[in-house]
């Protein structure tokens, strides 16, 4: 079982281009159709869990499946199998990046590329803002107030990211539970 988990998640890691939701269909196909390790319903639970808990979706899915199939050891094997291809490929790419990045041509290509990278991060960010402020397609008042408040804290007082998120959690408890 551990060997099988290892092989399947190495494949998922190797072929899940685009990260996060782009990799979702690949992961789902492997886990619910090819191996029947979980039902579609369980898979959608994993997606929900991923939104509720920290960490990338595919890591969460790997941990969840590993845990269900072979306990804690299974979770560890599946999660690390997922990550190994990333580590090897990124190690190789880093080597080349630092070897060649001072070449004028490479420098110029990277400079132009920066625009696209910022655009892609913006797109990812907007999706997040949308699901946080417009959960049911209409603008939510409490969420918007909290959003503006946190932006204010970050810009005006340069609050640390983790502190800002923790404050948001406490305010969330007050706004969405107590009130």
């Amino acid at each position: 079982m551990l060997g099988k988990l290892f092989i399947v998640f190495i494949q998922v890691g190797l072929f899940s281009f685009g990260g996060g939701y782009a990799a979702l269909p690949i992961i789902q196909n492997q886990l619910t159709n090819v191996h029947r390790w979980m039902t579609t319903l369980e898979f959608s639970d994993v997606v929900t869990l991923s939104q509720m808990t920290p960490g990338p979706l595919s890591i969460n899915a790997a941990t969840f499946v590993g845990m269900k199939q072979a306990g804690l050891l299974g979770a560890i094997v599946a999660t690390y199998a997922l990550v190994i291809p990333s580590m090897i490929l990124c190690g190789i790419m880093s080597y080349f990046y630092y070897k060649y990045r001072d070449l004028t041509l490479v420098k110029k290509v990277l400079r132009v590329l920066r625009g696209s990278v910022v655009a892609l991060i913006l797109m990812g960010g907007l999706q997040l803002v949308q699901s946080a402020l417009f959960p049911n397609m209409s603008l939510e008042l409490k969420e918007s107030i909290l959003f503006v408040g946190i932006v204010f804290l970050l810009v005006k007082f340069k609050v640390d990211s983790i502190l800002a998120i923790s404050i948001a959690g406490v305010l969330g408890y007050i706004l969405f539970y107590l009130i």
Partner: protein, 182 residues
């Protein structure tokens, strides 16, 4: 240094809800703005590389940042820091999933944190866009709009957008180099 790298990644990962597009801006804020270990341009290059490789974006980025700081050992330490929090948390959550799923307090706190994260991303992205303008990176700004159009209107996958951007970037760079020489 290793310990600090590990702890920093561990904290970022433990508080990062959602995948790569959340943790990457957070890494930038931490490593570029606060610790000043990496400069702005280099960080964006590392993000570009992590986006063009398969695998988990957050892990790719953390491996690259770790490698930048302390070579292979740094990459291993950094990725451990990124992977452990979701591994630990999800292992626990899987066991008590049914109880957590419907707990109103947990849902309220998580909702607040989700709004907090989106506010954070929003401010970081605005800063990144301002940086493009400040650098007078006109081709970059052009690519910014091109990438958005490709994503919105043609619904192209991230990897394809990055690949196209590399091709166009190479053409522009070759043109510039040729003009400088000639």
């Amino acid at each position: 240094m290793y310990f600090k790298l590990f702890i920093t990644m561990f904290n970022l990962s433990a508080f990062t809800f959602g995948g790569g597009y959340v943790i990457v801006p957070m890494m930038r804020k931490k490593f570029v703005e606060q610790l000043k270990w990496i400069d702005e341009d280099e960080m964006l290059d590392l993000v570009a590389i992590s986006q063009s490789l398969p695998g988990v974006l957050a892990v790719n980025a953390s491996v690259l940042v770790g490698y930048r700081l302390k070579k292979m050992k740094g990459a291993i330490v950094s990725s451990l820091g990124t992977v452990l929090p979701p591994l630990i948390i999800l292992a626990i959550v899987t066991v008590m999933y049914e109880n957590i799923k419907n707990n109103a307090v947990v849902i309220a706190i998580l909702k607040g944190m989700q709004v907090g994260v989106s506010a954070l991303i929003f401010t970081v992205v605005v800063q990144m866009i301002l940086q493009l303008i400040k650098d007078k990176n006109y081709y970059g700004i052009l690519m910014f709009f091109m990438a958005i159009s490709l994503a919105v209107f043609l619904k192209l996958n991230t990897v394809i957008i990055i690949a196209l951007s590399i091709i166009i970037g190479t053409i522009i760079a070759l043109y510039e180099v040729k003009n400088n020489v000639g």
